[in-house]
């Protein structure tokens, strides 16, 4: 993993989120360094997903700001981040390999897609149309994207959902590897996701 990530730090301060005209949270702040993971928790509707999408530049920042240091200064935060949300960004009529290959090329791929597919255990299904995948397999294909394109920041929204036990363990291994390479992770989850020493950020004052 590139050494330039080692000094990375992602910070947010005074963040306010407004969705559909309603204020979801206000005055939120956090700070994560390279090699660290931040676990975003909170009740349903607290704004966990919204926070992740704000970092990814997909939800307007109603107040506050983000800052990132120690990485390629010419790129914005979204351009350096992977976002793994509830949607898979898969086209059912393309095969598994075509789907991954497209994203690898579009986002400026690193590792060859085959390796990434093998890592998530989909190598045998490479030529199957994505329409035939089960929910868990679709999720694995999304995770393969994190490997096929190297980006320092991983934004994971309930990454373990739809995964079975074995796949959850494999994902935990991948996340640990990313952290040890100097990357950072911001993950939203309702329960433990297999990272022991993660900082926790609670969204939503009460409960």
């Amino acid at each position: 993993m590139p050494a330039r990530w080692a000094e990375m730090r992602l910070e947010g301060s005074g963040l306010t989120c407004v969705r559909g005209g309603r204020e979801v949270f206000a005055g939120l702040g956090f700070s994560v360094a390279g090699g660290e993971a931040l676990l975003v928790t909170g009740r349903n509707g607290a704004g966990k997903s919204s926070l992740l999408r704000m970092i990814a530049g997909l939800v307007r920042i109603a107040g506050g700001q983000f800052a990132v240091t120690g990485v390629d200064a010419e790129k914005t935060i979204p351009e350096q981040a992977h976002y793994l949300g509830h949607l898979d960004a898969l086209k059912p009529s393309l095969t598994v390999a075509e789907n991954l290959g497209f994203w690898a090329r579009y986002l400026g791929g690193g590792a060859p897609p085959q390796t990434a597919l093998a890592t998530v255990g989909l190598a045998a299904l490479a030529d199957l149309p994505a329409a035939y995948l089960s929910a868990g397999q679709r999720r694995r294909l999304s995770i393969a994207r994190l490997l096929a394109v190297q980006r320092p920041i991983w934004l994971l929204d309930e990454p373990t959902s739809a995964l079975d036990r074995e796949a959850q363990d494999a994902l935990a291994g991948l996340m640990r590897q990313h952290l040890s390479g100097g990357g950072l992770i911001v993950a939203a989850a309702h329960g433990p996701i297999g990272l022991e020493r993660a900082k926790e950020l609670r969204v939503g004052a009460d409960a």
């Binding site: 306010t16 407004v18 559909g20 005209g21 309603r22 204020e23 009740r43 349903n44 509707g45 109603a62 939503g204 009460d206 409960a207």
Partner: protein, 246 residues
């Protein structure tokens, strides 16, 4: 909803409340003067009394076009400054502009019946007004189909600005189109320069119509702000109620 969002509209409401009756009164007064002057204007030696349609027709044509201009200015306010009042101004202007455009179309075709023997010809000017009307309807449909006002506002703003670019192109292409197929078969008034006995009442009526537009617009803006407040209250009620997950 954040309180900041309401701050500006609140000031607007407190300004609008005292202004509205005065504006309405002024409109009525100018209308009265205009109607008297119109009554005194001479009938045309060719057209008889139908020439008086002009005192409604021409101002409403101007205000129909003014409406889109206003919406375009508001659209810039929405997109560039994200001003909440700009959304409201644009939304309130659309039906009023459409109504004046419609009035122009109706009075024009009523006038066309005695003048040209038919209610409608595909003349360049008429056709571009018709398209303006259709574009108004499109924007209104857009406002109506979208639940979230700020989302609708930005979409409508982009459509309005694109329309503002397109309207001159439409006007010009329709000119070209019509002259190609039917050169000069359409009778147009105009002819001699307008006589002052007609010009003065026309100007007064135009002023009255403009005041009417502004009054209606102010009232519609006020209603829209109040409607949004009701919506915000409903949302807050939902958030506070049991089972909202909060």
């Amino acid at each position: 909803m954040a309180l900041i969002d309401l701050a500006n509209p609140t000031r607007f409401l407190s300004l609008a409340r005292p202004t509205l009756p005065w504006l309405a009164g002024l409109t009525a007064a100018v209308f009265a003067v205009g109607l008297v002057l119109t009554h005194g204007a001479p009938d045309d030696y060719q057209q008889g009394a139908t020439v008086k349609i002009m005192f409604i027709h021409v101002p409403s044509a101007w205000l129909g076009m003014f409406g889109w201009t206003l919406m375009s200015a508001a659209a810039l306010g929405t997109l560039v400054w994200r001003h909440p009042l700009a959304d409201v101004a644009a939304k309130a202007a659309a039906p009023i502009g459409a109504a004046f455009t419609f009035l122009c179309l109706v009075t024009g075709s009523l006038w066309g019946r005695p003048m040209w023997g038919t209610y409608w010809v595909w003349d360049a000017r008429l056709t571009s007004v018709l398209l303006l009307f259709l574009m108004y309807l499109g924007v209104i449909a857009l406002w109506r189909t979208v639940e979230d006002p700020s989302r609708a506002a930005r979409a409508a703003a982009i459509l309005t600005l694109v329309g503002a670019i397109n309207l001159p192109i439409i006007k010009w292409s329709v000119d070209w189109w019509n002259t190609l197929h039917q050169p000069a078969s359409v009778v147009k008034l105009g002819g001699p320069a307008i006589h002052p006995t007609i010009l003065l009442p026309l100007m007064v009526m135009a002023l009255a119509f403009t005041l009417l537009f502004l009054t209606l617009h102010l009232a519609a803006m006020r209603n829209e702000i109040l409607r949004r407040r009701v919506r915000t209250l409903m949302l807050m009620q939902a958030q506070a109620a049991p089972g909202s997950g909060s």
